[in-house]
Symmetry: C2
């Protein structure tokens, strides 16, 4: 048996999320169906770095699985892509030691959140970014973003629907990139709570609208209460961009 | 009654085309449903500059309709957009003389055809461009494109499924724009035959692959035979970009 690590991209628009569930098409199910076809019907379990919700996209999701097939690592993308639907792509594959685990070996992740700023919504971007009809105050967004960098208790930025006890996480980067009508939030950290990036995005959008003052971020963090932060920004703007592993 | 002219955009991915048909969701049907809601259930017939096929997009399709409502021209986009699905957008509206006709008054059109050139297909572009895994010889594409500009009998570049007798048309512009992995063909002319832009795109792609020599364009045009030109390029790369009207 060999362990394969793959970097995959997917358009989350037509998926009910990454993880297999009884109702709805999922990324995991499509991957396992493609692998079963390559393994003469035997089931191959796929493990990802983490789940993504319905409508959330991935540029660089990482998965691993074990296989008895003697296909060289660099031939796997072409082999798997020929079996996969067009909204999932295997970008890269390599044989890794058995100790590698897509989830437990991950040292950090980068997410990106795309905002499209224009009085009119754009039919071509409706599934790929969050529409904001008002012009955001980017200086306020950047200032508020700066206060989120570092190690904090992110209880206020975590969906109430979670069992996780320890809500202290470290954000190592939170950049605000502005290009034409598009604003991109680039958030990297050691780990993320459920809905954390979408709640950060929603709160930064409110900072950009003047509904939240940048300095309020301190109070929101200190309050440890989900009700203090902004709305959860919609799924379609979110991309799992990269998963980092140590050597 | 007033006549309204509107410029609309739509993402053609989830439509069975522009024109109403018994099976499948169409752009015209969604427009007429939205207008019926605004007119207390009365039917309002919408006329477009022309049809687009299933999967074909529009950046600047033009429509007209007549209405008794006393809404100022510049308020129509917001009013209609609130009734339309998110894959159709009214960009601009104005009251025009009754002599204006979206189809018969049109003096010309510009189409764009998008090609995505990369060994891997891109999940995010699968519905918005034609994937080309090989690197095209752009000099050959440009040379071949140059031979199509002007007034020619385009029988070889027209679907055999057409009743139109006169197949002489004038192409006023055929530019090849290259930016990163994307190639865009910009084709403007006084009028287009059925599938003409997609057959032009398919033939230029074959020129880029070296399967058609640029000079062959003369022979293909002169032969007046659909079988001589390249394949019809897929719908997802095509955009109706702009419709031109005289003063």
């Amino acid at each position: 048996m060999k362990r394969l690590k793959c970097i995959i991209s997917y358009d989350g628009s037509l998926f009910a999320g990454y993880q297999i569930q009884p109702n709805g098409r999922t990324v995991q199910e499509e991957l396992e169906k493609a692998l079963a076809r390559m393994h003469k019907g035997s089931q191959v379990k796929v493990t990802a770095s983490g789940r993504t919700d319905a409508g959330v996209h991935a540029e660089g999701q990482v998965i691993h699985f074990d296989t008895p097939l003697a296909i060289p690592g660099d031939r796997w993308p072409t082999a798997l892509n020929s079996q996969l639907p067009k909204d999932i792509l295997v970008r890269k594959a390599e044989i890794v030691p058995e100790s590698f685990h897509a989830r437990f070996s991950a040292a950090g992740k980068e997410y990106r959140y795309k905002i499209y700023q224009d009085p009119f919504r754009n039919p071509f971007k409706r599934m790929y970014s969050c529409h904001c009809p008002y012009e955001l105050d980017l200086q306020a967004v950047e200032e508020a973003a700066g206060f989120l960098i570092g190690t904090h208790d992110f209880t206020s930025f975590c969906s109430a629907k979670t069992d996780v006890q320890d809500k202290v996480r470290t954000i190592t980067k939170l950049e605000v990139i502005h290009c034409g009508k598009e604003i991109e939030l680039r958030v990297a950290g050691s780990g993320f709570l459920y809905n954390m990036v979408r709640i950060i995005a929603g709160t930064l959008i409110e900072a950009g609208k003047g509904k939240v003052a940048p300095n309020d971020i301190h109070t929101i963090l200190a309050g440890r209460d989900r009700a203090l932060a902004g709305k959860t920004a919609p799924a379609e703007g979110l991309y799992l961009w990269e998963v980092f592993y140590g050597n």
